[in-house]
């Protein structure tokens, strides 16, 4: 046993519950580094401030979640984010934390609006990737006989898969209108109700969007992809409310046991990717002029109060608006499919938007820092806003309950509806988790699925599934993800959001 190992051994003996030492291996020639994690309480762990870190890291997780080599890299990323200028309080990570580019997925970081940075790596490639949930007036037995037909029709009518393009072909000036107006554009085209806007985070439109800073390439990619689901982990899911935990909040959200729901997960498609990529390209050059060393090139950033910082923020808002318009159209089209296949009128179907949340975004928000109101730029990368009752950003219907938080799980298990809390405002800049989080690489998932029929396994559970990509099903199989229930237990236990309902999938369309 070497000297270092011996010290670790002693720490483990004397502080079995206080310290959890993670051993980082040499990965791809990157130097060996050990990240110490200190227990704060049952659900919170601190990465103490060391080296160039300006603030500590705080991870929401159980002890068992932090075990295992897959957590080494994201922990290092939490520490890296803590080195960025203007970061406030702590570099945070949610229990669905996993390895990302620059920032970990599941990461939350807020920067001072005047003296801090903004980073495309803190938002992710799929800007405003998000989830929307709609309730219906139906129960499972109303649709079970027509479930296969319904899923087939959704699969046929909602374009999905690699590079999918839709029936909406826009001119460049029209794309710019989408980028400027978001969901409002969709509603103005008759693809939704005005009331849907109240039930969309930010009203489905970030006002700072400036289409003139978006590259011709991004605009070009945006022309044909509106109203398409995309591929990878994006999906459309018919679910049934299985359990209600908070009856009052569920009542306000319009949820009841046995109810059929529709959830969809999609983002800003190729346009968002192009905007992120374009921004990384100019920021990686720009950041060198700022004179601070980045621990990772993918953390390229700019001061918010700079031409480059604002250029990204205003372009990012365009992609966010495109994503909201996209989900609005996807829901509208899905609703049409329900009406047609089930042969009923809108009143009988009763499909109403419960809420639309984004989980890849940077936003200007006001938070209390050391008892003082401060304007900050909150980066949520694989994290969901979790605003409490009474917050001015919420519509009047949800003022008493707090914001609905929608957490999709893997396609075989469950999804959750949570509600935002005051504690999230105090601890996590009003943020919580976003989903299950991958545990297996796509290759490992494919390997694990060898000799199994994922399709049949799901059908045995009563889940009808249709998919596009030839390896999508294996890559996205339930075993590839963390148990969403454990993730939700952490955020519920820590109090940064509260469980309202659990949904079980019965029909899934995967891109």
């Amino acid at each position: 046993m070497g000297g270092q190992s011996y010290i670790r051994y002693l720490i483990a003996i004397f502080f079995p519950k206080c310290y959890y030492v993670v051993y980082n291996k040499i990965i791809d020639g990157v130097p060996k580094m050990t990240i110490n994690v200190k227990k704060i309480d049952k659900y919170r762990w601190e990465v103490p401030k060391t080296g160039a870190m300006r603030v500590p890291g705080i991870i929401y997780a159980t002890e068992s979640m932090l075990r295992g080599s897959s957590q080494n890299e994201p922990l290092k990323q939490v520490a890296n984010v803590a080195t960025l200028p203007g970061i406030l309080k702590a570099s945070l990570a949610m229990p669905d934390m996993h390895w990302g580019y620059g920032f970990p997925i599941g990461g939350v970081a807020a920067f001072d609006w005047e003296s801090g940075v903004i980073s495309p790596g803190g938002v992710g490639y799929d800007i405003n990737c998000g989830v929307r949930l709609a309730g219906t007036s139906l129960i499972e037995k109303d649709i079970r006989p027509k479930l296969k037909e319904l899923v087939d029709a959704l699969f046929r009518d909602i374009p999905s898969g690699v590079g999918s393009t839709g029936s909406i072909n826009l001119s460049i000036p029209e794309v710019k209108k989408v980028l400027k107006n978001g969901s409002r554009w969709a509603v103005s085209q008759g693809l939704g109700d005005t009331s849907d806007l109240d039930f969309t985070e930010e009203g489905g439109c970030m006002e700072n969007a400036d289409p003139d800073v978006v590259s011709p390439r991004a605009l070009e990619r945006g022309k044909k992809q509106l109203g398409t689901l995309g591929s990878g982990n994006h999906f459309l899911e018919i679910g049934v409310v299985e359990t209600i935990y908070e009856p009052e909040a569920a009542r306000v959200f319009g949820l009841f046991e046995g109810q059929v729901t529709l959830m969809l997960h999609s983002g800003s498609r190729g346009l968002g990717y192009q905007i992120c990529d374009d921004s990384l390209a100019f920021m990686s050059k720009h950041v060198k002029k700022l004179g601070f060393d980045l621990p990772d090139r993918q953390l390229a950033c700019a001061m918010i109060q700079s031409k480059e910082g604002m250029k990204y923020y205003n372009a990012m808002a365009c992609a966010a608006n495109y994503a909201w318009a996209n989900r609005q159209i996807l829901m509208h089209r899905s609703r049409d499919v329900f009406l047609r296949v089930l042969g009923m009128g809108p009143r009988d179907l009763g499909m109403n938007l419960l809420y639309d949340v984004c989980h890849n975004i940077a936003k200007k928000e006001t938070h209390l820092i050391d008892g003082k109101k401060q304007t900050v730029c909150v980066h949520r990368k694989g994290a969901t806003r979790s605003f409490p009752p009474g917050h001015s950003a919420l519509c009047s219907e949800y003022q008493q309950t707090g914001q609905p938080v929608i957490i999709p799980g893997d396609m075989g298990t469950a999804s959750y509806v949570l509600v935002g809390t005051q504690k999230a405002m105090e601890e996590t800049f009003g943020s919580t988790c976003h989903g299950a989080g991958r545990v297996l690489s796509r290759k490992a998932a494919k390997k694990a699925s060898k000799g199994r029929s994922i399709n049949r396994e799901l059908e045995d559970k009563g889940i009808v599934i249709r998919w596009t990509g030839r390896s999508t099903l294996a890559e996205e199989m339930p075993d590839a993800y963390k148990d969403v229930s454990q993730v939700v237990e952490v955020v519920h236990g820590a109090g940064i959001s509260k469980k309202v309902a659990r949904l079980r999938p019965i029909g899934v369309v995967k891109g």
Binding site: V30, H98, G100, G163, G270, D277, L280, Q298, S441, R442
Partner: protein, 139 residues
């Protein structure tokens, strides 16, 4: 296609480890590796060609920008690359002739959707046995 690269497997995404006898071979092989991951290249016929250029601050930056340009041919223009001919290459600039087929869903298979080329752990280096590069893709 002779394997001049191997795949790197990560939890969320994956990449390529490419080799070449010199810098030109490395950049050409990286382009082919990208499209070998995306599609079945054997069925491509080099129906058309175009010229692309990319610039960078160093070899790593150049590699990223080169692959970004190539990926845009697919993501932005739906073209599948069959082969490349490097016209000129320095540490800061590359220019090449690209042979491609326009994508036809009935003729071409898409194996993997590569959504972006990332800076994550990017490496381009040369040694006594030749050049090598590691690039991680977002998929």
């Amino acid at each position: 296609m002779k394997k001049t690269y191997r795949l790197i497997d990560h939890t969320a995404d994956f990449g390529i480890h490419v080799f070449g006898s010199d810098s030109q071979a490395l950049f050409a092989n990286a382009a082919l590796a990208l499209f070998d991951v995306i599609t079945e290249m054997d069925v491509l016929k080099s129906r058309d060609f175009c010229k692309i250029t990319a610039s960078g601050e160093d070899w790593s930056d150049l590699m990223i920008n080169w692959l970004r340009e190539l990926l845009y041919l697919w993501n932005g223009k739906e073209l599948l690359v069959k082969s490349v001919q490097i016209l000129s290459l320095s540490e800061n600039k590359i220019s090449a002739k690209i042979y491609f087929d326009p994508f036809r869903p009935d003729r071409h298979t898409i194996k993997t959707e590569i959504k972006a080329v990332t800076y994550h752990q990017i490496q381009v280096k040369s040694g006594p046995s030749g050049w090598e590069a590691r690039v991680i893709f977002d998929i």
